[in-house]
């Protein structure tokens, strides 16, 4: 070591732990690039991983996809409310729900296409149909839904504009098919709300995969309360009775499904749902959902209170989707969430006497 007049300003060198002292291989440690002490070539850490690098890759999806999860749910629930309004003679609810469905599904589709690596090839989604691919199944569901939602919403727009859309003889056709179209959209609404849960569950992303049993219930509940919330914002209370009931059912369903999901998941894989940004979003989502539900129950017959509750519900649903989405991405970025649950389940199978299905074998 050289001696210089500045040496007195150096922090004292910590004792360097010898590498053989039982540390389990390489890992992370805060970088120390200021040269104040010797940097070990290979830092140390507690559990085995390859330099703390992720094992699985996070989906290259941005917030567009999380937004789509939310918008798809709103569209699906709105189409169901639209059909309800259509069948139960609530014209304003029917009109608003149909328009909401089209607006939400269009915005959602734009978000999805925007997130593709090659947006100009979005139609390749429909060049085949694969049951093993929830994304393929979902693309077909989305297309079928959009057809019905589009036709029924255009019929409403035409009516609102006093039959001024330049439809010519097609107007009669449109009037004839708008009812069936609303029905068709409603048929695909449930699948539209639920398939995104399968899309996330059918990945190697630890938190999403571990949640695959209950996530569909969380997502349909979230869709129900969001669309009901939107109807409560857009439609006078006179016609939103069913929407208010749906909102309350959705809140109950979501809170319950979320609790069951967290109980049944591997505890390590569930951690990202409680940590960081995702944890905060999910906590607020639950609070807002409960508040929105209570507001609906207590003040749902007052226009102002209904609208505020509806907004709370919409926000709650958006937070649920973004929270689950973020938690999954976070779980993919940290090798711990891949390695530990896998080791646990492997050890559990071995303890149960199943020794023939491990990927690592002695011979």
């Amino acid at each position: 070591m050289t001696l210089s007049e500045f040496d007195s300003f150096r922090p004292s060198e910590p004792v360097r732990r010898r590498r053989r002292e039982g540390k389990r291989g390489p890992g992370r440690r805060p970088a120390n690039g200021d040269g104040s002490r010797e940097m070990p070539m290979v830092p140390e850490q507690e559990f085995s991983s390859y330099y703390g690098r992720p094992v699985v890759k996070a989906a290259p999806w941005g917030n567009d996809v999380a937004a789509y999860l939310f918008l798809g749910g709103v569209a699906a629930g709105s189409a169901l409310l639209g059909l309800g309004g259509q069948l139960s003679g609530r014209p304003t609810l029917r009109r608003n729900a149909r328009l909401s469905a089209l607006a939400a599904v269009s915005a959602g589709t734009v978000a999805l296409v925007k997130d593709l690596g090659r947006p100009e090839r979005f139609l390749h989604m429909l060049r085949t149909f694969k049951v093993t691919s929830p994304m393929s199944v979902g693309s077909w569901i989305l297309s079928a839904f959009s057809a019905g939602a589009g036709v029924s919403a255009v019929a409403e727009i035409d009516r609102m504009s006093g039959s001024r859309l330049p439809l010519g003889p097609l107007r009669n056709v449109l009037r004839a098919v708008e009812g069936p179209a609303g029905f068709e959209a409603a048929v695909f609404a449930g699948p539209l709300a639920a398939y995104t849960a399968v899309l996330l569950g059918d990945t190697a992303t630890p938190t999403w995969n571990a949640a695959h049993e209950e996530l569909p219930f969380v997502f349909v509940s979230s869709a129900a309360l969001a669309s009901a919330g939107l109807a409560m914002v857009t439609t006078p209370v006179r016609e939103t009775g069913p929407a208010r009931k749906l909102a309350v059912l959705g809140v109950l369903g979501e809170v319950a499904a979320m609790k069951v999901m967290e109980q049944r998941m591997d505890p390590v894989a569930a951690e990202p749902l409680h940590q960081g940004k995702a944890g905060a979003m999910l906590k607020w989502s639950e609070r807002l959902a409960v508040a929105g539900g209570l507001g609906t129950l207590l003040g749902g017959r007052h226009r102002g209170a209904a609208a505020v509750s509806g907004l709370a519900l919409l926000t709650a649903s958006a937070l649920t989707r973004f929270g689950v989405f973020e938690a999954g991405l976070a779980s993919a970025r940290d090798p711990r969430y891949t390695i530990e649950p896998q080791k646990t389940r492997l050890a559990a199978r071995r303890a149960a006497g199943i020794t023939d299905d491990a990927i690592t074998t002695g011979g």
Binding site: R19, R20, G25, P26, A31, M39, M41, V42, S48, Y50, Y51, V55, V56, K57, W61, L80, G84, G117, R118, P119, H124, R127, T128, K130, T132, S133, P134, M135, S136, G190, A193, A194, Y195, A197, V198, G201, D202, T203, A204, E213, P216, V220, A224, G241, R244, K245, L246, P335, I339, Q342, K343, L346, R350, T355, D357, I359, T360, T361, G362, G363
Partner: protein, 336 residues
């Protein structure tokens, strides 16, 4: 469609009507010297662009980091001390004593049949320090998550039983990236790589990045296989650490090799991917490792997510029914 999990012949599942044998790798990490010839050969043959920033990663001699869209072979370097070596030897011994059922005929005159207790246990190398080097690659899984979840059909099963992306079909949806239990496939960025300043001029002359926005991974050199050639990485490997051939032969070679290492007392040796009962139905690329898989950045118990897909669809169906019921109740259950 074939089955979603369990032992199977992936080529027949994909309806290929011929009898090409399934091709695969056996990567024997016990003889890898970490020269990275495989990485370089792969890059060159496949015209893969630069990955990352030419940074030193501070992880032994590994400055590549991980497999990715432009890195289809990745050599891992791990430095270990004595205690970890002893642990690895123990965990390997535990695997042997689990008595994994062998698949197929037992290796003839397997040296593993000899009693390990009496084997020469002095390790041939230094006992208190070792360097693990392992050339990782796409596993070409029997049940490939990436292929199962691809919505466009861009990923397909070749006649050699391998998994390949058609870059003119892929629309970059990224589902496969999340679907791979090994973190192999990746969507290629647009090539706006930040390069160290001193390299700027040089970089300016580089050709534009091909296939940006498209999922990319090892093709097991499909273009070379079609011409009856060995993949570039296996051809370049100077130590035969990367062996290429019919998948069955590779598994057999791997079993023989692990037996002979065990006979030398190197019980830390173990196979990865040679078991067709595992979560992905066995891999096309088989590895011989000298420590637990997670030490090399490999998942310890990967499972193709699609294996649970029927159950997921069932649960989603129940959820849909629940949603419909809730709406029905809301409209029919009297005025709120």
């Amino acid at each position: 469609m074939g089955q979603l999990s369990g032992p199977t012949d992936p080529t027949a599942d994909a309806h290929w009507e011929h009898s090409h044998p399934r091709k695969g790798f056996f990567t024997d990490t016990s003889i890898c010297i970490g020269c990275k010839a495989c990485e370089v050969a792969c890059k060159e043959w496949n015209h893969n662009p630069q990955d990352g920033n030419l940074e030193l990663l501070g992880s032994s001699y590994d400055n590549t980091g991980a497999l990715g869209a432009s890195t289809w072979r990745h050599v891992a370097f791990i430095e270990q001390g004595q205690e970890r070596i002893v642990e690895a030897r123990e965990s390997g011994r535990a695997l042997v004593s689990l008595g994994m059922p062998r698949i197929g005929p037992p290796a003839t005159a397997s040296p593993a049949a000899t009693d390990l207790a009496e084997a020469e246990t002095t390790p041939p190398d230094t006992a208190d320090f070792r360097w693990l080097m392992s050339s990782d690659v796409c596993k070409h899984c029997t049940h490939a998550g990436c292929l199962d979840v691809c919505p466009t059909g861009a990923l397909f099963r070749t006649e050699f039983g391998t998994v390949v992306v058609q870059d003119d079909v892929c629309n970059g949806c990224g589902t496969c990236v999340a679907g791979c239990p090994f973190g192999v496939i990746e969507r290629r960025a647009d090539g706006s790589v930040k390069v160290a300043t001193s390299r700027n001029d040089q970089h300016a002359k580089h050709p534009a990045v091909p296939n940006a926005g498209i999922a990319q991974k090892c093709t097991l050199c499909y273009d070379r296989l079609v011409a009856d050639e060995t993949p570039a990485c296996a051809k370049a490997c100077p130590t035969t650490s990367i062996k290429f051939g019919d998948h069955d032969d590779m598994v057999e070679t791997a079993r023989e090799r692990v037996s002979s290492l065990h006979a030398q007392g190197l019980t830390e040796a173990r196979l990865y991917g040679a078991n067709e009962n595992d979560g992905v139905g066995g891999t096309g690329s088989v590895f011989l490792l000298l420590d637990e898989p997670e030490v090399y950045g490999l998942p310890p118990d990967p499972r193709v997510p699609t294996a649970d897909l029927p159950q997921m669809y069932r649960r989603a169906g129940m959820a849909v029914a629940g949603m419909a019921a809730a709406v029905a109740v809301a409209f029919l259950g009297g005025r709120a």
